[in-house]
Subunit: 505 residues, 2 copies
Amino acid sequence: MSGRLDELKRRMARLSDLKYASSLANWDQQTKMPPRGAACRADVLATLAELRHREFTDSETGRLLDAAAGELRGADPDSDEVRLVESVRRHWEKARRVPGDLTAEIARAGSRGQEVWIDARAQSDFAMFQPVLQHNVDLARRYVECHLGHDGFQCAYDVLLDDYEPLMRTAQVAALFDELKRELLPLIDAVTNSAGVDATPVEARFPVEGQRALSREVVELMGFDARGWRLDDTVHPFATGVGDGDVRITTRYDERYWPMSLFGSMHECGHGLYEEGAALAHPRSPLGAVDSLAMHESQSRLWENMVGRGRSFANVLAPRAAAHCGGPLEGLEPEALFRAVNRVRPSFIRVEADEATYALHIILRFELEQELIEGTLRVADAAEAWRARFRQYVGLDVTDDADGILQDVHWSAGLMGYFSTYALGNLIAGQLWERAHRDLPDLEDALAAGELGGLREWLREHVHRHGAKFPTAELLQRELQAPISVAPFVRYLKDKLGDVYGLSL
Amino acid sequence: MSGRLDELKRRMARLSDLKYASSLANWDQQTKMPPRGAACRADVLATLAELRHREFTDSETGRLLDAAAGELRGADPDSDEVRLVESVRRHWEKARRVPGDLTAEIARAGSRGQEVWIDARAQSDFAMFQPVLQHNVDLARRYVECHLGHDGFQCAYDVLLDDYEPLMRTAQVAALFDELKRELLPLIDAVTNSAGVDATPVEARFPVEGQRALSREVVELMGFDARGWRLDDTVHPFATGVGDGDVRITTRYDERYWPMSLFGSMHECGHGLYEEGAALAHPRSPLGAVDSLAMHESQSRLWENMVGRGRSFANVLAPRAAAHCGGPLEGLEPEALFRAVNRVRPSFIRVEADEATYALHIILRFELEQELIEGTLRVADAAEAWRARFRQYVGLDVTDDADGILQDVHWSAGLMGYFSTYALGNLIAGQLWERAHRDLPDLEDALAAGELGGLREWLREHVHRHGAKFPTAELLQRELQAPISVAPFVRYLKDKLGDVYGLSL
C-alpha cells in the first residue's frame, strides 16, 4: 500500500545524505581546511548543490509525491507522512523554478565569497568586498525572478524571506518590527539615561584556555555530549548537524571580552540541541532538518540570553568563571555578573549587542536588504547607507567598515533574507520562556542549581521533536495557542532590565 | 572542435568534486567525527558512492567518450587529452559492469565495517569482526562476478588487484614475490644470526608532545606546508587529498615506540606529496587522481625508509630527536640511530616491520586474500589460517588476534586486493632510488644537510606530475627504461643491512 511513499522516503533520505555531505564540507571549510583548499572546495560545494537540486527537482519526485498522496488518502492529516508529502511538495515546486546552473553558481559564489570576506573584513576594506556583494545581489535577483508570481509572493523580498522562514511574508515582519521598535526605543532611552551598571566583570582579561574550559563545562550542562558533538574554533560561530546525531558547534575567543565565547557557545549549543532533537526524531528525513530559522533562533537566543544571562544561572556561572579566569574574577558575585552581562549600551557589532538594542541591528539589515534587492540602493553605496542608517537607529558613527557592513558573514555567503529571523527568534523565545515558566514552576530554582535537563526536555517535547513538520505559525498555535507576538518578549525584557537597572519599566 | 571533449572534462570534474566530498567524509570519520555520527556517515558515503557511480556509468559518458575520441583523431597519442579519454573509457567499461546498489552497499559496508573493526581490534575479538569480514568477502565475490570474462582477467583475484594496480595481474605479482622471497630469506637468516644491533635509542620513552613537534618539523622539511596541508591524529594512519592543493595526512603516537609516529608521518607525507603533485598538474581531472597504489606506495616507502631510515638523514634526525625527547636520547649519535631503526627482527605488526621481513607480511595477506575470494579458505577459519601461515613465514606465534588478523583496517573497509601493492611499491622505490642517485650525484650530501627539495623535485618531475596518465609499466618504461623488477630493491637492502650489521651480504 505504501510502496511509492517508501520510495519517496528513500529518495529524500539520499538527499538528506547529500545535504549532510555539504554541511560537512562547509563545517570543514570554516574550522579545519587549509587556505589553499578554498578554490576547490567551492567547486565541491557547487557540485553537491547542483546534484541535490537536480535529484530533488527531477520529475520523478513529482510522480512519487502524487502517488504517495494517493496512498495516504484518508490518513491522519497531522501524521508525519502526510506532513512530509505536503512539505516536500511545497519545496519541490519552489526548487523546480530555479535552473540547476543558477543553484550551482549560488553555492559556488557563496563559498568563494566567504574567503574574500575574511580578507576584506581583516583589512576593513569594503571595496575588496564590493564585487562579491554585487555578484550575490545579482544572483539573488535572478533567483527572485524565478519565483515572482508564485506562492502568493507580494514582493521580491518575500521570495528570499520564505527560504529562511517558510510562509512568513515581508509585510508581517515589518509590522512586528514596527511594534517592537515602538516598545524598545523608550526602554533603551530609560536605561541608558539611568545610573548605569558596573561592567568591570566583563572587562576582565580572561586567558583563552580558561574560557575554553568554561564554555565546554557550560555546554555540557546543556546537553553537549562528546559522543555526538564537537566544539571547535572559528571566525564566525555557527552550529550545524553533519549527520543524524552528529552536531558541530563553533565559537571564537577574545581574551579581552570573555562573554563572547561563553554566550556564543551557549547560543550555538541551543541551535545544536534543536538540530539533534529534530534529526533523531526524523532520521534521514526532510522533517528532521528544521527549515524555520526563526524557530531555530528562538532556541539559541533562549539559551544564550534567557538562561545564560538570566539571574538564576548567574549563580552557576559566577563561581565557574572565577575558577577558570583566576585573579581578575576572584570572588565574582552572581549579582554583579548578572548586571554586567545585561548592560544596555549602543554598540557596533550585532553578535555582541545587548538584548534591547539587538533588534535595531536587525531592522537596519532587513531594510538595507530590501533596498538592495529592489535596486533602490546600489551596492556601491551600501557601506555609506549602512553608516547613515546606523547613526540614525543606534546613534553611533561607524568609522571602520569591519565594525559596520563587513561584520557579518551572511552577505558574503549569499544569505540574503536571513537576518530578520534573528529578531523573530527573540520574540518566539519570549513566548516559549513565558510558557515554560508556567509549565515548570521550579524552573528558576533548577537553573540556579545548574540543572538544565528539565528545560531541555521541555523544549524537546514542545519544539525539537517536531522538526520541520509544522510551519512556525501552526507550531506556535499548537503548542502555545497563540500567533507570533511581541508582548511576551517585551514583558521579559522590561522585567529583567528593571531588575538590572533598579527601574520600574 | 573540442566541444564534446570539454563536456567530458566538465563531467569528469564534477565526479572529481564528488570524490573529494567522499574523501573528506572519510577523513573526518577517522579524525574528527564523534562516534554517534558513524551510522549516518555510512549512509552519506554510500549515497555519494552510488551517485558517483551512476553519474560515471551513465551512457552519456560513453557518448561523450566516443565523440571526444572523434575530436581527438590525429592528436598526439601521448597528449593528456588522448590519455584521459583512454583511461576514462577503461574505468567506465569496468564500472558499468557493477550495479549501483552493489556499489552503494560496498561503500556502506566499508564505512560500518571500520567502526566494528575499531572495537574488535581494541578487544582482540575476531568473532566480533567475523561477520564484517564475511560480508565484505561476499560483496567482493559479487563484485568479481561482474567482471570475470572481461579485460583478460584470468582469475577472481585479478579483478580485485586491477582496482588498486591497473593492468597488473596476479600471476606477475606471484612471480615477483617468489623471486623476492628467494632473495630475502637468506638475507634475513644472515642478519638475524649475526651479532645484532643496539636498539636502545628506539626504546627510549619519548613524550607524545615532543614526537608531535619532531614529526611536524620533519614533514616540513619534506614539503608539508600549512597553507595546503594538515597533520592529524588517527588510529590507522593515512593520507588523502580532499581537494586540489588540500592534503590531509595523519599519524599515531606511542610514547614507548617513537619511530612509529616519525616514520609514519614521513610515509604519509610521501603519499601526500604525490597526491598534491598529481592534483595540481591535473586539477579536477581523473588524471590528477593516482590510480596505481604500487606507484603511490613507492613514494611513501622511499621517503619513510630510504630517506628516513637512511644513513645520511640520520644526521638530521638524531639531534632533532634528542632535542624534542630530552633526557633519554641526549647525545644520540646518528650512527647509533641509523643502526637502531634498521634492526631486522621478525615481528607481528606489518606497519612496524623492518624492510627485510616486511614483504613476508604482505605475501601472507596476498595468499590469504586469494584463498578467501576463491573460497578455499572459509572466513570462520581465517584467524587460525593467519596464525599458521605467520608461524611458517615469520616464525612467530600469534597469541592475540589484535596483533594478527585484526591489525589492519583494510578488510574491514572492504579493501581486498590492496596489500600486494605495498610490496610492489618497495620494489619500485628501489628502482627510483637507484636512478635518483645517478641523476643527483650530491643526493646523499643534501639528505645529510636536511635539504630534501632536490629529491622532491626529482620525484615531481619523474613521477608526480604524470598523475594517472600512464599505467605503471609504461611509466617505468618511460622514466627508467625498465619493467618493474626485484634486483634494485635487493641491492639497496643488502647494501644497507651490510652496513648496519657489518656483514658482506
